[in-house]
């Protein structure tokens, strides 16, 4: 009966993460659809000033870079280059933190240009979506930090793959959310 694997292995964990990702997709899916429903109802769109869009674009670059760093870390681990692995993992964490900082900058810029929180439903949705995403990124950062603090014996390629999967997923969510806000 080789087709049934009864072990709590990394594939099982990957599966659990996939289910969690489905849940998170539904969460953000609801935010996105609510955003569009409100948009149709109010018959307007969020008019973000140019510099906030610029910050958003830079943040997007940063998180994509972070995602790529994670990919490179995995690549180096696979080829047994531990130093490079650690450097790229550190890059992923640092750029992740930078992304959070960038998002906070985006919020403060929004406040400065006169779109504070509770200004209107659509801008509130922008705050809410980026905030909810930010909480997930912070959670992801804790996981990355935990991975980084693990000793070499405890790390495995599967573990890095699982963490990486979640990290790429968060990147993808942000790209989607940012696109939605700009539409």
């Amino acid at each position: 009966m080789a087709n049934v694997i009864q072990r709590i292995d990394h594939t099982t964990k990957t599966f659990g993460i996939l289910i969690a990702m489905v849940s998170i997709v539904m969460l953000f899916g609801t935010f996105i659809s609510s955003f569009f429903v409100l948009k149709i109802r109010l018959m307007s769109s969020v008019s973000l000033p140019g510099n906030t869009i610029m910050i958003g674009v830079v943040n997007t670059m940063i998180i994509i870079f972070s995602s790529i760093s994670m990919m490179l870390a995995k690549f180096h681990y696979k080829n047994d280059r531990m130093i490079n692995y650690e450097i790229w993992l550190l890059w992923a964490i640092m750029t992740g933190i930078l992304f959070i900082g960038g998002q906070l900058l985006l919020w403060s810029e929004l406040v400065t240009v006169g779109i504070p929180f509770t200004f209107g439903q659509l801008s509130d949705m922008v705050y809410l979506m980026s905030g909810a995403h930010g909480i997930h990124v912070i959670a992801g950062l804790f996981i990355l930090y935990w991975l980084q603090s693990l000793s070499n014996e405890l790390i495995s390629l599967d573990l890095i793959k699982n963490v990486g999967l979640f990290w790429h997923f968060l990147c993808l969510i942000w790209v989607t959310l940012f696109t939605v806000t700009l539409v």
Binding site: T12, R41, L128
Partner: protein, 573 residues
Amino acid sequence: MKIHKDSFWSKHIFSEDHKTIGKQFFWLGLFFLFFGGALAMLLRWQLGYPEQPVPIIGKWMWPDDGGIINPDIFNQMFTMHGTIMIFWAITPLLIGAFGNFLIPLQIGAPDMAFPKLNMISFWTMFLASLVLLSSYMLPLGTASGGWTSYPPLSSPAGGIPGLGQTIWTIALILMGAATMMGAINYITTVVRLRAPGMFYFKMPLSVWGLFLASILNAVFVPVIAAGLVMLLLDQTIGTEFFIAGRLASGDPGDPLLFQHVFWIFGHPEVYILILPVWGITSDLLSVFSRKPAYGYKVTAIAMSTVVALSSLVWGHHMYTTGMSPLLGKSFMFLTLLISIPSSMFFLNWLGTLWRGSIHFDTPMLFSMGVIWVFGLGGLTGLYNATVTADIYLHDTMFVVGHFHYTLAASVMFGSFAAIYFWFPKMFGRALDPFIGKVHFWGSFITINYVFFNMMVTGYAGQHRRIYNPTEYDFLKPLSGLNEWITIFAFFLGIFQFLFLLNILWTISRSKICEKNPWKATTLEWTVNYPIPHGNFDEVPIIYYGPHEYSRPDIKDKDWLGQNELMEVKKWQM
């Protein structure tokens, strides 16, 4: 096999053993079941004897009003009754307790896929319970916007004083987080940890039910979580996602958006609650008819079809909101489609009884009770699915009667059947059969009277959530019937105390019973009580489906365990 060394704390409180967590959910659910039930009794008192002082406890509970329940308290009570019964009684009892207890045991797994997540899930749920109960400490009382909690009423501008509504939202978000963690665990366990040979179509139908319910949980609880976060921001920070009209300070938001989000989750939630019952009933009917479940695969596939359809029908809760005709018609059509798979597995239940050898043990009585009450509850759904009939019946006691038939009567009977059936495995002792039978007949008669007549009052026009039906002339003729419903509801409540006494008495007094008292075939009956952490000494290998009863090719017994290798005798071949 890993040996678990446990201190008191890690064994009984922060246990990662799915059986202990299941029991924790069981006691939590049982507590809230009686709590919500007590609220129901008080609600019935007010509806049967409007604005009369509540006997015995009234003077003590509400001294300022002379023991009379006032409208504020009444609204708080039905809000908490609905919330508690759905999210804190049925969900923990069926999905929390039996989901945890049964899934690993029935599929032959050592534990859940993520034991630590399982433990966190329970304690998140516990925290959510504390948060919810803390709203009883608030000076202005608990939430009172109904379990649906539609904004703008549930936002501060809507006129509900105090923090109750906010606390309610926070508690529900926490509950949702706990449910999602549980769902991730259950799905992964079923998909990845089945014992060798336990194919999907060899799983007991209880596992099918719990598995499908978990899928719905994983997919649709996040939807309401998102809606509740938006509602929470409306309540606390001052956004206006769902606020319109006079109460909105800026551009109007969309109150209907919340209703859509709520029912996109809310309708699957109904199936989340009933799916485990369908599965459990299918299994138990087979056990006590000593006959394989009729059309096992059809039942499993029909249940999956209902799951798929359930995500497309939320609009039938919103026919009267001014929905576009095209949408209304589509929702009606999709809703009615559900009747095909439902009637198929319903017929399979009857097919299981047909030519069986029916033993009338307590779990069987409750399972056959499910056939009755779910039959009525399911069929009466037709009125509410019909757009025209629903224009009249929407938000009346008819709806209340209908969903109590499906959610209270069916689900409670299913839970009782499960508790009577698996009690010997959970606590090692069998519940007293005589008290069990009294409990069944008492509950069966009273529950039918109460919920059927709720539908009758609804048909006669009584709308729901009204404090005093005698305010209206057209409801005056119903006061006698309302009084009767209340009397029967009280008897229904009293019979539940028999059940509680039975549980407490059995746990404290009875002797440990045999390993497999019901002569059932599934894997959980192959292990001795107390089941060790890790469940099975060696990984069971599954050869047969879950319902091998009355096989003509074995002579000495009428059942064959899923992991028993049948002795093939020469002369039989």
